[in-house]
Amino acid sequence: MKTMMSTATAALCALSVAGAATAQEILILAEDVPAGLNYDGPAAAIPSSQQGMVTLLEPLVGYADGETVDGVVVPDFDTFEGRLAESWTYDADTLTWTFNLRQGVTGCGGATFNADDVMYTFERAKSVSGAAPIGWFLSNVASIDGFGPEVFGDDAAAKELGDSIVKIDDYTVQIRQAEPNALLLPVLTIFGLLIFDKETMEANATEADPWSHDYVNNTNAPGFGGYCLESWAKNEQITYSSFPDYYRGAPDATRVSVRRVPQSSNRLVVLRSGQADLVTGLTPREYNSIADVDGLTVAGVTGNENLFIHMNFDVEPFDNIKLREAIAHAIPYDQIIATGYFGEATQWNGMVPSTYPGYAEVAGFSYDPEMAKSLLAEAGYPDGAGLDAFGEAFALSYVAEKESTLGPIVNVIQTALREVGIPATLDPIPQTQYGDRQLVRRDLPFAVNDQEKPIGVDAGYAIQLFFVSPENGGLNNMVNYRNADLDTMWSGARVDPDTASRDATLAQIQEMLAADVAWLPIVEYRTQWAFRDRVSGLKWYPDNSIRYTDLQISE
């Protein structure tokens, strides 16, 4: 009993320091840890899962570092540099890219990287054997030959790689496109085409699961990244240890533990206490509350996160351009920036993220209630008379799970709209229901949206994703915007090999979209992180995941 008591005492004494990371180990607190590590699996759309994928796997190419903004390095989207591919050439006549692969790269499992790993990764993507075929989707977006919708048919041959991706030798791979398309290199940087370690993957395949989806969903994602998976308890914690032989140099943080802490206020409290090194997913108010705390840094960049109002062209009265313009002038942009984002946002004068290649600034709307009223009268609804007839159309939907962030903003919008006579009400709905109505039914009349981040870093891709008609290649035209001229122009830009002329067409498209108020862009808000002063080296990536290999840890 005495021994037991002394053990207990010793243990409890030790607990006062338990949890604090040692010199090169860091503890990160996040909303969640990966639910899966398979980008063709069920958890691929979840940001915390993507964070796990980019930690363990490497891309063929990446973006070069650009300028440093407020202590955070942002990518130079005009300059690609090699990762697992060391160099590449492009033959415009045959639409063929030749990638020279890096030699001497090894993975956590001991395998050596070569062309077989690249071939395996694309074969797996084309097998469309996972729950969500992201690898195929990205290859399709980049017009890789043979990656068309035919892979979903019954013809087994259509699922085989064929001659569009060819291994020339152990360190050379060729990829052929079906048409000129500027998106090949951008998609190769994305988490959905990161390269697997074929040897380990095949060692964990089964007859029922030849592409090792179960293994990657639940056990590990073997690749050639800077970290190896040490332990992983879904819904609780994931721990990575640094890989000393990482081809880009051993990471500074030797061990990274990511703990799931659902309550953002608890993440904040633990960071302030000094027991955590970095936290993500705080509300703007919480980031603001620690902006001046000694020993802590709040860093952020204007990356690709934004807020816009969605008005459905298939729902009356949003098909009325004057009404859409009236709403645009009724929104108090500055108040939203101050109230909702504590100044960490700027008005969004664009239709695609302002950091993306091909972005063109468009004329923004100003807050002018008198003009809003005048436009409302021109729309046929003086002082809002007659709008009550549209019933639920003015129920402003937003994702209920984001209440702490969006709540103050939708209240500002509702008040402002009511002041000019628009009978807006609030309609918080669960994320899944929101996604269903946005993506599948496309029947959300009126909504506030802050979660659209095109994974392809390109204005043309963003336009295809959101504004092109579905029958002409559009993917997620959630507001049912249809413009035949735009579709034609985009089709031309998509295969235009001349960057200057492509950008000019894309700029023209963005002006058309702004003039039609296809979306009502409100703000671009900063992607933020809070961390202790001993952490530095943070870089921003378009997937908003941190690369732990970038981090520098001081004593």
């Binding site: 243990a11 533990s257 802490v261 899944t432 599948v440 997620n476």
Partner: protein
């Protein structure tokens, strides 16, 4: 006799579970949302969407899906009859293994909280009942009102702020163990037991330390209604004929109180049993505040993701446990009250 009663109750329980499985299967499919959209994300194509729907089996007719779930088409996938709860659409793991991970966390939390609440509530409730209208009774009334007046997450956050952040006597609300501590190999899933099995007393005490705040928070909340119930039942028992008779013949006050407590325990146990069943999923806010990955958190995640197999699995398991708890309650009733016999 008792065995026959238990067998009958178990059989009725199985029928109840079957009806529930059918009802839940159809009810969740009536919800106005589509799990596929969440699965593929918004950066995907119509073909990708259809592929995901196929993978989930949602392209099959509804009754075929039910057949598969029940295990009547084992050639397609194992189902309930084969002991499989299916595969989670959110994570790709089997629902059975996920529940086996999350359920012990909650059972451990609420069992300890109930034990603590029980230890607090019985003497406090008795104190109030034995001194009606006096200062002690008023104190008990204020305590029970105070404990039940605010939601548990509010108390949880307040306790975290005061005891962790301000006073530094509680550990960070980061789950069952410190993030830098390797958990023992799971055997039972109950951290306290697994640390002992692994022969790691330091981790046992660390786990106990981490459980301290969530258990106190939950016990604080639970003790409110239990105290009220014990007090009321004790008051009623103290006014009953057998207690009046016991007092009349001059039995010691302590012995009379013991008799009254036994009579008061029956209804109180009923409340405790109902609360226990409720807390299986109702402890979710405390789990959230203290970052404990329990079954409540899992249920919420599953509902928000429209993860049908996981929702069905959670409902089935929680109902089964509740049925067992109610059966145990009936047996405890029989043990406490000699008038009840099976």
């Amino acid at each position: 006799m008792l065995l026959r009663y238990i067998t009958r109750r178990m059989l009725i329980g199985v029928i109840q579970l079957f009806c529930l499985v059918i009802a839940v299967f159809f009810l969740i499919r009536l919800l106005p949302a589509d799990p596929v959209s969440r699965l593929v994300g918004l950066n995907s194509s119509p073909e990708g969407y259809e592929q995901a729907a196929r993978q989930l089996g949602l392209d099959r007719p509804l009754f075929e899906q039910l057949w598969i779930y029940l295990g009547l088409s084992p050639d397609i996938a194992p189902g309930l009859l084969q002991g499989s709860l299916g595969v989670s659409w959110a994570s790709g793991s089997t629902v059975g293994s996920e529940i086996a991970t999350f359920l012990p966390v909650t059972l451990q939390l609420i069992t300890l909280a109930f034990i603590l609440a029980f230890i607090i509530s019985i003497p406090v409730g008795m104190l109030g009942a034995l001194n009606p209208g006096k200062a002690a009774d008023k104190g008990v009334f204020v305590y029970s009102l105070f404990a039940g007046s605010q939601p548990e997450f509010w108390w949880g956050l307040l306790f975290v702020y005061v005891f962790y952040f301000q006073l530094g006597v509680a550990p960070a609300p980061l789950g069952q163990l410190s993030p830098m501590t390797f958990p023992p190999e799971p055997v039972t899933g109950f951290m306290l037991i697994d640390t002992l099995i692994a022969g790691e007393p330091a981790k046992f005490f660390e786990a106990l330390h981490h459980l301290m705040m969530p258990v106190i928070t939950l016990a604080f909340i639970l003790s409110g209604p239990i105290i009220k119930m014990v007090r009321q039942n004790m008051l009623r028992a103290l006014q009953s004929d057998f207690v009046l008779y016991a007092n009349l013949i001059g039995l010691p006050r302590k012995r009379v109180a013991r008799y009254a407590l036994r009579a008061a325990m029956g209804p109180s146990m009923t409340l405790i049993g109902i609360l226990y069943g409720f807390m299986l999923s109702g402890a979710v806010l405390v789990e959230s505040v203290f970052s404990l990955g329990g079954i409540g958190q899992y249920a919420i995640r599953s509902v928000l993701a429209f993860d049908y197999p996981a929702i069905q699995g959670v409902v089935l398991v929680i109902t089964a446990i509740s049925l067992v708890v109610y059966l145990l309650l009936d047996l405890i009733h029989a043990a406490i009250d000699p008038r009840i016999a099976y």
